[in-house]
Symmetry: D2
Subunit: 331 residues, 4 copies
Amino acid sequence: MIIRVTPGRLGDVASALDKVKVRFREVKVLGEELIVTWPDSIVDERLVKLIDPGAVIINVKTRYQLASRQWRQRSIIDVSGVRVGGDEVVVAAGPCAVEGYEQVRETAEAVKEAGARLLRGGAFKPRTSPYSFQGLGVEGLKILRRVSDEVGLPVVSEVMDTRMVETVASYVDMLQIGARNAQNFDLLREVGRAGKPVLLKRGMGNTVEEWLEAAEYIMLEGNGNVVLCERGIRTFENSTRFTLDLGAVVVAKRLTHLPICVDPSHPAGRREYVIPLALAAIAAGADMLIVEVHPKPWEALSDADQQLTFDMFRELMSKAKAVAYALGRGL
Amino acid sequence: MIIRVTPGRLGDVASALDKVKVRFREVKVLGEELIVTWPDSIVDERLVKLIDPGAVIINVKTRYQLASRQWRQRSIIDVSGVRVGGDEVVVAAGPCAVEGYEQVRETAEAVKEAGARLLRGGAFKPRTSPYSFQGLGVEGLKILRRVSDEVGLPVVSEVMDTRMVETVASYVDMLQIGARNAQNFDLLREVGRAGKPVLLKRGMGNTVEEWLEAAEYIMLEGNGNVVLCERGIRTFENSTRFTLDLGAVVVAKRLTHLPICVDPSHPAGRREYVIPLALAAIAAGADMLIVEVHPKPWEALSDADQQLTFDMFRELMSKAKAVAYALGRGL
Amino acid sequence: MIIRVTPGRLGDVASALDKVKVRFREVKVLGEELIVTWPDSIVDERLVKLIDPGAVIINVKTRYQLASRQWRQRSIIDVSGVRVGGDEVVVAAGPCAVEGYEQVRETAEAVKEAGARLLRGGAFKPRTSPYSFQGLGVEGLKILRRVSDEVGLPVVSEVMDTRMVETVASYVDMLQIGARNAQNFDLLREVGRAGKPVLLKRGMGNTVEEWLEAAEYIMLEGNGNVVLCERGIRTFENSTRFTLDLGAVVVAKRLTHLPICVDPSHPAGRREYVIPLALAAIAAGADMLIVEVHPKPWEALSDADQQLTFDMFRELMSKAKAVAYALGRGL
Amino acid sequence: MIIRVTPGRLGDVASALDKVKVRFREVKVLGEELIVTWPDSIVDERLVKLIDPGAVIINVKTRYQLASRQWRQRSIIDVSGVRVGGDEVVVAAGPCAVEGYEQVRETAEAVKEAGARLLRGGAFKPRTSPYSFQGLGVEGLKILRRVSDEVGLPVVSEVMDTRMVETVASYVDMLQIGARNAQNFDLLREVGRAGKPVLLKRGMGNTVEEWLEAAEYIMLEGNGNVVLCERGIRTFENSTRFTLDLGAVVVAKRLTHLPICVDPSHPAGRREYVIPLALAAIAAGADMLIVEVHPKPWEALSDADQQLTFDMFRELMSKAKAVAYALGRGL
């Protein structure tokens, strides 16, 4: 149950619920003062109205509550000035991994010129094998920050370790939770407390419902600035690296008020598949894309097969604009 | 190996290969005279050139050969005058199952008016349960034929049983192989001999490669008029009925010269998900859509949840046109 | 709803139901005279009792009825004298495909000596590629019949085409429906009419419920002699050919009275994995195993990697006996 | 490449490799002094032999090296005196979550009496929903330690957060990495440094290869005491909670020297399915089982449907012993 209290009455309602042993949490998210009660807690609606006659009580029927569309139609997330979830589709682009200043700078300029609004780049890389390149770490974050400031693109980068959330948050504009940490609940809570927008990838073995429950962990800590990101799931089909599940995007758009992003690069696995998947994502209703772009993909230290060249990214943007416009959206 | 012989020389080359014990088949498909040799047969290219100096020999590297794009860029399949696989996206629409003349006639007129080029409708229905409506059978085929002629839309309908191929083929313009018969190899061979275009659905547990090998069964019988149809695969995600695999469409477009169709209705499972999935399919490069439409979906004898109303279908067509045009295609 | 009528009263009850427009079918299976009503048909139990006071009415709650354990605890299927589903685990063994008389004869003798009770062998082979060995057809059936008679092992073999059911049934003791035809409903109906026991494989993309509904198609034609066979499903894991789903065996044992068989060869994909999977199947409660064995597996025309040598099969049987005995069963 | 150096020569060989710019790490695991070189590093074997003529150089062909069976046949992991991976199958049992001292004490006594050798219990619980019971935390660890000491069963419990590894390690005998953290690489590294044996669950969307690479992260930090645990994967089948993949157990036994554990409780999802799955796991070759047991499962704060009663656990142990003995193992 979500109780939207009259501004300033949060404390009073909370005190009343405390006395009647209801399990709840006070949450300020997305400009609202809310009380979220535990699904198994019985709340006397009259009691709430007695304390705060202006309170609005919403009986959310899903296992997630703050992430649900039952109490809120649509949220626009502000990432250092870039609005995700509005009429304009936002594209984040950049290298899979930060390899050096020049690489990031060159890429940032190219993708900005082509219309990207956010810069992406990995400093901490979750690699299947410990023998693979693990990222430049804090050094990579410094490069991202510097290029972000110089080029004027807010930057999103992944955080993998609860101990590093504060550090990563101090360098980036948006924190990314990767697919492999999609149910790392301590990390979700920690980014929920960090006060920066979050890009939350769906785990490769997670249902749409679990993905929204992961968002709930973040929001319940008081951070409503969550963008959900579909990046492909594990299925028997192996001609693509993962199976991009655009049905999940369509469903999620109806279940949550949060914006939905699609990463076409990881499910593609090969760069020649990225553009049609990106266009399909926009047609399915995605609010944002996050795309891997590299000056010389074939020399990349990670995901060499799936990163786009600058030329391919320009082609992607040009076609993406056409599709977005056709559906009445900007880009 | 595919040998494109000089017209008229098929017999000579075949005789020569016969003598040297090569395993092969003579196939006339898509206006070409070909000899297809078994992948494990060793063919002396000089021998072939000796008999037919104009022969072109293509060493196809995939497990399927005739379905491969290694010997042919692109095929356009003619379905009683409607060309599938060209620059125009073709939409087939109609009820899941034929329930009566009025229902089909009304639907055919509505979808034609909205821009559909083909009529779909099931007379033989592959139902999970023997207690579900199994279709009207031949009576349904007669209705389809009548409406097809009256309204002027060529019709596609499913055949499930080898014994019925000839009968179904005598009523419809295009034979459909359903997902549950995607590896019913005797049926594939039989429709390969029936001389009508085939809409071949991908099995819900089949890889892209297996789908193309199923097409190979049809083509090897001399029927090259195959349109491949993606309709969702089985995965752990259950918020949609099946997981629409548009990655498979993107991959298949690069592996085969055959046109690719997408069925957005079955993976959706609910009508409110159909339109965005249909648009995504076009953006991913689909050449054709097949969509379930019913005058009163909520009263339908099958798939009541996923059939579109006429109004929804008109909305789909209008948006689909916009997306197709944005990508330089017609519809 | 299943109505177990007093022997001889089938016609009377049917007439009464006919008059009140109930949808039903008269079925004689497993030695019982039954009336099965359609799940959506409303039946007045008092009416039935009026006509046949001895009738037992069972309100089956599942989508399948005759296959359900709600009306019958356990069925033992007799395959030409070999009882499947009793306290003894039954092993069927033999080559993937019939390649010639000597191969089958030699294998039959070896597996019988090791304790196999049934012979398996494919005459019609459902191969992914049309270029693969498709089986010897009727010639293969003749070999199977001859060896079966000579060695004294009833034989099970696959039928793929509705047109061939009668022919195959005339040669074998048990008809096999392969995984690729697990939802070929016309074929299911046809083997339901053939009067021979059926080994029904689960489709690689089918749920347990769909598998039981496939059995319902067979049983509703009056053939209750169905053994269900788990043979692995399609998942993202590719270190084995398919993922053997022993959980499905455990679940099915509780949902149906029909015996459950496990094929460890196909999910294994490699012969060194077959024995532990076979033992696990018995421990999970399987009533039957079907195992591929070949005199010289490395020379086999199909499934060369997964067929067992005679020595391996003997090892399997010796260990299988130990596990079966440990759980209070024979073998 | 793994170089097994002569004891005491680790430093010399390392210095030599350093000079020639080889990427490597010195690792002491499982009583051996090793140098592991990066897969893409070129090592001159003669150089190594020059420095340490007794060195054994193993060219491991897999992406994981220390976890591979290519350099070591079999490892036995000692968990405070309980040897996992030897001829005896080891059973860990206990409640899903620690709910209080009495509950754990009672369970520990019952499972020990029935033959369990390790106690399990969750203090930090990775729950899909933030509204579900999250475990007692450090309070739960204290209860586990106390009961472990009183009853004489070493205890295994999960750690979810890098910041808590030291704390959890100070209370338990074996650290568990849950399925949802199976690719939380920072956590894997941290438990690699904690010096306690690790029970590493396979992620629900991870391949066998990825599971072994996860173990590699732990081992490369110098901790070879890893037991791998299969607990079911995500597939389309939903009659069980997860699909227990015993094929993965069979494969892993051939790929790694590490012991393999199976958790039959989570894939079952319902307690009546646990026993046959547990028996199947032993028959497939599992070295260890981990089973959820609760004094009153129906009142449990988590996993109420799948925890066994004491009676069921006794039945499991009695049958498990019979199956283990039948295969020449103890329990």
